[in-house]
């Protein structure tokens, strides 16, 4: 099922995220999938998130699909050139994967193989365009395909990055290149998100706001320091520090954020980063 169909039906779309394991034991990933089954419309399968080497997102997306959850296959430009990227897109199609999230990818130095050669042969805009060409039955070189894939293409944006105008300019290109829905980086500042939504209104594209539940004050500080593009305001860090019920406060913060931003977007994407059991609780508390 393509995400675009859900947006068209007017549904407020809910997605979560699953990280493939480092290794071949997929039990934990599939257990986490069970926690999300029936509660979310689809799950993102991350592609070597934070440049840390793991099981591939293509194989994982396939397993998750077999397990009964709709995968959104994340594909980054960091590790593959245009030949491999197009090939992997074709592979995804024959495995029945219909939703693709085209992203640049973190720099290699952020992960556990900092000595690797970064590829970035294509950027996210070019990757979206390449995927759109495949959908139209041609590869990037203009060669005709024997059977064209059918995808719903997604793109990402960071509404909190400065300057906002530059993020919007790039997002416009992504939409022209073929993006059909937008997923944002984690947002902790609803006012900023509203401003962003105002500036991209003309694009008329469904936007899913990104939410990362905070486990603790130290996790928030770690993300501020080490995770590209995330900023947790000091006020929220303090709330996490003072609370005696970390899970309760974390859910409370998520609910506040989602409730405030829901009227301004078409869906929510919850990235629990290994803490998947909190997702149904957040959704219950939001009435989703």
């Amino acid at each position: 099922m393509k995400l675009a169909e859900l947006f068209e039906s007017g549904k407020f779309v809910v997605t979560a995220e699953l990280g493939p394991p480092k290794g071949v034991d997929t039990n934990k990933m599939l257990q986490n999938a069970d926690l999300l089954k029936g509660r979310v419309d689809a799950v993102n399968i991350t592609d070597q998130q934070s440049s840390v080497m793991r099981l591939g997102s293509l194989a994982s997306a396939h397993l998750v699909k077999q397990h009964g959850l709709e995968p959104i296959y994340q594909l980054t430009c960091r590790d593959r050139n245009r030949i491999a990227l197009q090939s992997d897109l074709l592979s995804a199609s024959v495995l029945g994967i219909e939703n693709i999230l085209c992203i640049t990818g973190d720099y290699v130095s952020l992960g556990d193989h900092p000595e690797a050669k970064p590829v970035f042969d294509l950027d996210s805009v070019s990757l979206l365009r390449a995927a759109k060409m495949l959908k139209n039955g041609y590869d990037m070189a203009g060669n005709k395909l024997l059977g064209a894939p059918s995808f719903c293409l997604g793109a990402v944006v960071n509404p909190t990055a400065e300057p906002l105008e530059l993020q919007v300019l790039k997002l416009e290109k992504k939409v022209v290149a073929g993006a059909e829905f937008i997923q944002t980086q984690a947002v902790y500042d609803p006012e900023r998100f509203k401003e962003f939504v105002k500036q991209v209104k003309h694009l008329k594209i469904p936007i899913m706001v990104g939410i990362v539940p905070l486990r603790s004050a130290s996790m928030a500080r770690f993300m501020n320091k080490h995770v590209a593009g995330i900023h947790v305001p000091e006020e929220l860090i303090e709330r996490m520090e003072k609370t005696r019920d970390k899970t309760g406060t974390s859910i409370e913060i998520c609910v506040e954020l989602i409730k405030e931003m829901k009227p301004f977007c078409q869906g929510v994407h919850i990235m629990a980063i290994g803490w998947e059991k909190i997702v149904p609780k957040i959704l219950d508390a939001c009435g989703l």
Binding site: F120, A161, L169
Partner: protein, 235 residues
């Protein structure tokens, strides 16, 4: 030596667009040796642009445009003419275009594609400013190279990883290249440039062409152009 070749005239005229008054800056260093930036090439370019209806407000040729202090000093003597111009056309390698952009608050269009170091360097050593990609994008990005200034070499805008204007890779020493490009284009009133989708780079162009490998420009050992060795079929 940085090996460069002139971009096709149509591409250069495309950059100039409606701009009428053009000031030409040539490089007497590597570019003169490649016949892309010395006096002869500058005068030829002047004629071609005049034939295309442009007014050349002046020209100046600097020995090693990659020397920022020297370039600033020399261009200062032409301030009036440069102020009267809509833009500058820079006939040098990619480093020269970036140096000119850094010292003049006017649009600096590149006239060449930089192909390769060819075994030597100009005054500017190292590839951190010009990757010799053979397909110069400096016109599009306001004279700041997206291939070298952006850690990921992104050509259509920034990723989402920068924080406070710093790159996610080595934030203590690296600025977000796209923020620099944005600020530069904003200053020049050319942010609209960023709305164009830049097609994927042709990395085959970074490879020095076969004809160059057989010239003294590329290989120091060669005195002059040598005929290609014919393949003898052995069966």
């Amino acid at each position: 030596m940085l090996v460069s070749e002139l971009k096709p005239l149509e591409e250069i005229l495309g950059y100039l667009g409606d701009e009428k008054n053009i000031f030409i800056v040539g490089c007497k260093g590597c570019a003169e040796a490649c016949e892309t930036g010395g006096e002869k090439s500058v005068l030829e370019m002047k004629k071609k642009l005049e034939d295309a209806g442009k007014k050349i407000t002046g020209y100046c040729i600097i020995d090693f445009l990659c020397d920022k202090a020297l370039t600033k000093l020399r261009l200062a003597t032409w301030t009036d003419r440069i102020l009267d111009s809509d833009s500058l056309l820079i006939m040098s390698c990619g480093v020269g275009v970036q140096v000119a952009s850094a010292v003049v608050d006017k649009v600096c269009h590149p006239a060449t594609n930089t192909l390769s170091l060819g075994g030597r360097q100009g005054e500017w050593r190292g590839e951190e400013r010009c990757a010799e990609c053979g397909d110069c994008l400096l016109d599009y990005t306001g004279g700041i190279c997206p291939i070298t200034a952006c850690t990921k070499g992104l050509i259509n805008g920034p990723c989402g990883g920068s924080k406070d204007g710093k790159c996610e890779h080595q934030p203590d020493v690296r600025d977000c290249g796209w923020k620099l490009i944005y600020e530069r284009l904003k200053k020049l009133g050319r942010l609209d440039k960023l709305r164009e989708i830049v097609p994927p780079k042709n990395f085959a162009r970074a490879e020095p062409q076969k004809r160059l490998r057989n010239t003294s420009l590329w290989a120091l050992e060669l005195e002059a152009k040598q005929p290609e060795v014919e393949q003898v079929e052995t069966s």
